[in-house]
Amino acid sequence: MASTKASKEQKYDRQLRLWGDHGQETLENAHVCLINATATGTEILKNLVLPGIGAFTIVDGHTVTGEDVGNNFFLSKDSIGKNRAQAATELLQELNSDVSGNFVEEGPDKLLDNDSEFFHRFTIVIGVQLPESTCLRLGSVLCSASVPFLVCKTYGLIGYMRLVVQEHTVIESHPDNALEDLRLDQPYAEFQNHIKSYDLDSMEKKDHSHTPWIIIVAKYLEKWLSEHNGQPPKNYKEKEAFRQLIREGIRKNENGVPEDEENFEEAIKNVNTALNPTKIPSAVEDIFNSEQCKNITAQSPSFWVMLRAVKEFVHNEGNGSLPVRGTIPDMIADSQKFINLQNVYREKAMQDAAAVSKHVESLLQSVGKVWPESIPEKDIKLFCKNASFLRVVRCRSLAEEYSVDTVNKDEITSCMDSPDSEMVFYLMLRAVDRFYQQHSRYPGVYNYQVEEDISKLKVCVNSLLQEYINICFLFIHLFCIFGRYICSNLSLRFILGSAAQEAIKIISHQFVPFNNTFLYNAMSQTSATLSL
């Protein structure tokens, strides 16, 4: 029973405030694949079903055991003996009737054998507790199909997440302290005309104290520039002098006492940010220079087409600047003046977006894409509005990470300089993977095996380290830690539920995901992101 739009709006109200209608829409169109409905796996999926992904498919060849039921909230006693994908789907489906739940009663290896294209259909694949060989195999299949892959593991008190995505583009990165885009240092013609329409000296008192601070700064900047050979205030001393210049503009009453003009106070307070020179952020410059931006083909995703169009804009109409963002902050002003000013910015932003749109059109034409194949106007507007905040995340592949030739030795050795680094746990997890591959079981599951397994695992650690780096103390350190942790108990799967958060970032193309490995150590409650 699907919900209507209005009832969805009500149900999802609290999250729409984070990622907006369009973010929700991408979520509702997403099809997520979970491999292995373990406690961690179902926890992650629960956090995706609740906010309303379109569909999920659980891939799992295991049969539910008593142990599963004991630690998995989404498996019940009567599901013992059933296929785990089916049992978990039934209970997870109950959480949200707007989500379509599917399951496949087979393990990922079998599926890869029979139909490797099976996984191409998903928006993202989340693999939980997969052996190394399966990870590598699936990783390469997904890579070729450009499907993001999130690998999750919990082991004792260590949690591990690895994002594998060749290229992930983010339009709305939602930076925390973004500077406003006001162009006070290089006012465009329409803005200049608007500034001219104000005459602070001849204004009535009420109008004077309701003039937006942007106009005030612009006016006094004009004055400053004319007195300083066209050089804006640069250092602290000059900025202080500029503030004083503005301060002197505050009207005085008949006794010579300055009036209470909050808009002037606001102008003075904002001098620093207002004088920030308009420039293209280096992160955006970098992606302008990437191959995907240079070589637009008929296959180029719309992100790159729009990026290239913006680049063209910068070199032509933009005179070296990005399209105007078109928003101004709230400020003290009467409605009319504020709206007028806002419109000046908004209209310029629309003009710029229209120019970018033209570039998009000719770019598409140049690669043989003609109407009706185009990019919607609203997407181009959103892109232009976020032009300063565009991000591209590129993760190394698992094959690169694991191969002796391409392993990131620098990152590993630099982390090893500090003995408390979470890197130890990464290496330990890798050693455990190796152990599993050799012995087809995990070490130390039963108490009687511990002694024996420690030496077996030692062999794995040793071989791994010889491939990468040879640090003797580390080996001993690891050995000790190992004995202590392998039998440790509480699962931290609850915390790995946050993998769902990363999945949402990937699906919605909003916010910047981590790159590329996240480790959590529940003993010390520390976490780290590593680039491997």
């Binding site: 609290r14 630690n71 010390s524």
Partner: protein, 600 residues
């Protein structure tokens, strides 16, 4: 399969035998209950006074659509039991501030875990846990941000050790006469809802305030003023509700009174408009005939309509609310709820019309809802992580490792040091905390000739100092009882001034809350000149101020969870939404901590 065994040995024993209390069965509470039963906790009590709403379903996974309207605590218990039938869960559909839950009740537990959404209850549970000497785990989330900490009497800071920005309340004159920010109009519109359809409250007056000290009008002008709005004279004598009822809730009449006559009346208080931009009255018939085109039909949450659009929304919502009221029968009242569409429509329309009148930029329904409902974005993932961390802290406490407990901040993205979770060492109790110090004491600036006993009781002792049922006596050698928690004993004092009881500069008052087992000594500092509309000030604390600018916004500096965060939800603002779960850890502080801590 992959083994994830549960704790073993003595820890496992204490997990299965100990009794724990979960306060709140909302976003964090649901996750916490699940984690607790999966970790092997057997004896769990959960309390929540709230019922389930549709907007909870995106994260509170123990609830389903069919449960809307039912008790959160009860349904959470039933759902958790379905998954883990062996647990022994007790649910209370009740307020934790109810006197039944006394110190004895708290002493039953090894551990109390807060999963609350408002400061009043957090303050109260903090005090109860201090009084019972039970460790408390406090938590909160806002969007992607979250925080967990541990409070233990004598060892750590308590919830109230660090002063928090005061809950912002708006002076009556600002709301009634001179709104300058959209929130003032939104608060006004919510008051108006209650005046027209809900429970009338003398503190929520919406008509022009003739006693505004700033207007300081000349009584001789009264006559002139009265004629400026002849209808107004009538309204003064009957309540807004009675008048509205007498018109049969005629939306046009209501409109013209609220947005034309009252505004014209305000215009006559010309002193107010010397330095401010004067409001512009609206007239229904003029607007109707002005040929303005309304925005597209079917309200889209995020768009801002034009004036006529809000006029129509006003009319439509008044009609809907009128029939709702009629259906309920004689003497019925409606309760404002941000998630009730007609109530929200009404506030959106009325607030926007007032914003327009006072030359402010109008806001979309979506934004008005955020402000009116004090909405904090909430998602499943953050709550899940925080609830996981609560259990980990709980296990440390049960293992007797209190010294290894931490305050943990959850960031939106990995910070500059690539940390998503930032642990900080717990600070020791603050020596001058007015709650957990051995002899709590505080100094309050007020005017003894203008402060009534009722104000002392409601605004200072209850609201500001968080007492639930206070007794206050004067340390005058006679122990004069000023306020008694027994009903009917001191009501006669309510409307007398403090000076009537001989209270003057330097007087000391002893306030007691029997339930909280808490005594506070209040030193009175008499001052004549407090700012307009300020009734009192606590010495050593800055009055309402915006939170300090964040130096590094990647760190959480204040976290909250919930939307009912004030004794008066109607007077909420941005400042209120930033309620802190705990002591305000400034970003730099969290940073510094992060550097100090290395994994053990």
């Amino acid at each position: 399969g992959w083994a994830t065994p549960r704790p073993q040995g003595p820890l496992a024993d204490s997990i299965s035998t100990c009794k724990v209390l979960v306060v709140g069965a909302g976003g964090i509470g649901c996750e916490l209950l699940k984690n607790l039963v999966l970790t092997g906790f057997k004896n769990i009590e959960v309390i929540d006074l709230d019922t389930i709403d549709v907007s909870n379903l995106n994260r509170q996974f123990l609830f389903q659509k069919k449960h809307v309207g039912k008790s959160k605590a009860q349904v959470a218990k039933e759902s958790a039991l379905q998954f883990c039938p062996s647990a022994n869960i007790t649910a209370y559909h009740d307020s934790i501030m109810n006197p039944e839950y006394n110190v004895e009740f708290f002493r039953k537990f090894m551990l109390v875990m807060n999963a609350l959404d408002n400061r009043a209850a957090r303050n109260h549970v903090n005090r109860m846990c201090l009084a019972a000497d039970i460790p408390l785990i406090e938590s909160g989330t806002a969007g992607y941000l979250g925080q967990v900490t541990v409070i233990k009497k004598g060892m750590t800071e308590c919830y109230e050790c660090q002063p928090k920005p005061a809950q912002k309340t708006f002076p009556g004159c600002t709301i009634r006469n001179t709104p300058s920010e959209p929130i003032h109009c939104i608060v006004w519109a919510k008051y108006l809802f209650n005046q027209l359809f809900g429970e009338e409250d003398a503190d929520q007056e919406v008509s022009p305030d003739t006693a505004d000290p700033e207007a300081a009008w000349n009584p001789e002008e009264t006559a002139a003023r009265a004629t400026a709005s002849d209808k107004d004279g009538d309204i003064k004598r009957v309540s807004t509700k009675e008048w509205a009822r007498s018109t049969g809730y005629d939306s046009v009449k209501l409109f013209n009174k609220l947005f034309k006559d009252d505004i014209m009346y305000l215009l006559t208080m010309d002193k107010l408009w010397k330095k401010r931009k004067a409001p512009t009255p609206l007239d229904w018939h003029q607007l109707e005939n002005s040929g303005m085109l309304s925005a597209s039909p079917g309200l889209k949450d995020q768009q801002v309509l034009d004036v006529w659009g809000y006029c129509q929304l006003f009319q439509h919502s008044v009609e809907t609310l009128r029939s709702q009221l009629q259906e309920k029968g004689e003497g019925a009242e409606l309760v404002w709820d941000k998630d009730d569409p007609p109530a929200m429509d009404f506030v959106t329309a009325a607030a926007n019309l007032r914003m327009h009148i006072f030359s402010m930029n109008m806001k979309s329904r979506f934004d008005v809802k955020s402000m009116a409902g004090n909405i904090i974005p909430a998602i499943a993932t953050t709550n899940a992580v925080i609830a996981g961390l609560i259990v980990l802290e709980g296990l440390k406490i049960l293992s007797g490792e209190l010294e290894s407990c931490r305050t943990i901040f959850l960031n939106k993205c990995p910070n500059l040091r690539k940390k998503l979770l930032v642990p900080c060492v717990l600070d020791p109790p603050s020596a001058n905390c007015y709650v957990c110090a051995s002899k709590p004491e505080v100094t309050v600036k007020l005017n003894v000739h203008k402060t009534m006993v009722l104000t002392l009781q409601d605004k200072i002792v209850k609201e500001r100092f968080g007492m639930v049922a206070p007794d206050v006596q004067i340390e005058d050698g006679k122990g004069t009882i000023l306020i008694s928690s027994e009903e009917g004993e001191t009501e006669g004092n309510n409307n007398k001034f403090l000076s009537d009881f001989g209270i003057r500069n330097g007087s000391r008052l002893q306030a007691d809350d029997f339930l909280q087992d808490y005594t506070l000594l209040i030193n009175v500092l008499h001052v004549e000149d407090l700012e307009r509309d300020v009734e009192f000030e606590v010495v050593g604390e800055a009055p309402d101020k915006a939170p300090p600018p964040q130096t590094n916004q990647e760190e959480v500096n204040s976290i909250t969870n919930g939307n009912k965060d004030s004794a008066q939800p109607s007077t909420s603002s941005k400042a209120v939404r930033r309620d802190l779960v705990l002591c305000q850890k400034l970003s730099s502080q969290a940073d510094r901590c992060a550097q100090q801590i290395s994994p053990e």
